[in-house]
């Protein structure tokens, strides 16, 4: 009875924590099964604890190459998409010009198109122009830049809209030209947003399966590798790599949260003076 009254009073909290539990459950399972020692070919049922999979993460043919390809594509595509996206965000937020609405729509459209259509249409382009494109690393790179860039624009735009322009005006008043102002004032102030956008871009790239699958030809990224092997049986080493990616990503995200927290404190401190 007492328990019931407690649950009733804290119903919302209980519900929220249950949903959080639901969100965490598969993640816990992935990490847990990276320590499983499966009896047969299938890593579905918990057998017993082992560290062998982590020690021998590289023991599955093709896994290392796929992971390296994923990281290479991710870094390169993120770099290019971030540059393109930041420039576009600056143009859209900072300037009034003819065609701004169309630019906004062009950025919005890829995000609101199902991935399978993005992948299918790119594949048609590549197949119809085989003299220019051959499926592989570079077609994956092209596809990734295309779908990441919109997310970068949106993320950076959000920060630019709340941007205090007085600092830039002060720099110009003190004789800095536009380029110097951009380099010394705008860019450092935008840095956390650009970093967050790039992190998002890299996460999207390394996670993407659908578009990559269409653009890959015979090349394998980590998700494409998983897809192929899932039709046979998924070895625990796949869980090891997924867990490692998760831990690195969570670490970086926490670092970003802390950085923004500190930044906010510094800004508050500056205002107090």
């Amino acid at each position: 009875m007492r328990l019931w009254r407690f649950v009733k009073r804290h119903m919302l909290t209980v519900y929220a924590l249950l949903v959080v539990g639901y969100l965490m459950l598969p993640i816990v399972v992935v990490i847990l099964f990276s320590f499983n020692d499966p009896a047969g070919r299938f890593n579905y049922v918990w057998q017993k604890f082992t560290l062998d999979n982590w020690a021998d993460w590289d023991g599955v043919l093709g896994l290392r190459e796929a992971l390296i390809t994923s990281i290479e594509v991710g870094l390169l595509a993120t770099l290019v998409a971030t540059v393109l996206g930041v420039l576009m965000a600056l143009a859209i937020v900072r300037h009034g010009f003819r065609g701004r609405a169309s630019a906004n729509v062009l950025v919005f459209l890829p995000m609101s198109t199902p991935e399978i259509v993005l992948g299918a249409s790119l594949l048609t382009l590549f197949l119809n122009m085989t003299s220019v494109f051959s499926l592989g690393f570079w077609t994956i790179f092209i596809a990734h830049v295309m779908f990441i860039v919109s997310f970068i624009v949106v993320t950076v735009k959000a920060r630019l809209i709340g941007f205090d322009r007085h600092l830039e005006e002060a720099a110009m008043d003190l004789g800095a030209n536009e380029w110097t102002t951009f380099r010394k004032i705008t860019l450092p102030l935008l840095a956390p947003a650009i970093f967050a956008a790039a992190l998002l871009g890299f996460a999207l790239s390394i996670d993407d399966f659908v578009i990559t699958y269409f653009a890959a030809g015979g090349e394998q990224t980590f998700p494409v590798f998983v897809w192929g092997i899932a039709r046979v049986s998924v070895p625990p080493q796949v869980n090891v790599v997924a867990s490692a990616i998760f831990l690195v990503a969570i670490g970086l995200a926490l670092a970003n949260v802390l950085w923004q927290f500190r930044q906010a404190r510094v800004e508050r401190g500056a205002r107090a003076i």
Partner: protein, 285 residues
Amino acid sequence: MGSFFHRHPRLTPYLLLAPGVAWLVVFFLVPLAFLGYQSLQSGIFPNFEFTWEFSNFSDALSDYREQLFRSFLYAGITTVACLVLAYPLVYWIAFRAGPWRNLFLLFIIAPFFVTYLIRTLAWLNILADEGPVVGLLRAINVLDEDGRLLATTFAVVSGITYNFLPFMALPLYVSLEQIDGRLLEAAKDLYASPAQAFLRVTLPLSAPGIVAGTLLTFIPASGDFINAELLGTPKQQMIGNVIQAKFLESLDYPTAASLSFILMAAILVTLLVYAKIVGAEKLTG
């Protein structure tokens, strides 16, 4: 460099936009045109010919009506399930979690950090016939002796729901977090009960988040094929499965291309109906 921008201030935005716009035109718009071109071709791989073959569309529509309908049914159920799961959670984070807000936001996006395919495969472990969930449900007679969860519609829909829950939760959070607490105090001062304050103040103010979350969930869910492939059977196949198989396995590009356009058109029609219901201005923000 600075002096160039100084002399041509009107050119600046176009120069900044040019590389990104070029990329999106060449690798997003042009491919869509190629897809349209492909959808009107006839013939058998690798000898396709452009013949204004509009029958591709009617044939695809009549052959795969079932999968198309199923995609939208699953996407609809998923969207409602995501809203029901996400709204109370996000409400709690925005109004009750206090200093723990950012930590719980991280919990919401944490699934993104586990590769899509692998978090879907994790549901194979969770829902496995020998697993604890099925065991429990069998013990309390919710499932028969040999009842299963895998390879059912339930498995596919809950897989999609799990995968797209963050897309619903994040825009909801943004709109709830912006609500001015003084409005709720005012409602209370004017003798609104908590339920009335929620229905008359909080819920309408969070409408933009609901609309954005619905779009971000419904659109990708209707094109998904991974959950049906990994957690379902041919009886749960969605339109995405057909497009994928036609493109990459049976190499029937014209049918696959016309199905892609049918999917986009169906999404567009759904959005227009939705816009009619919720009001067009809310849809475009």
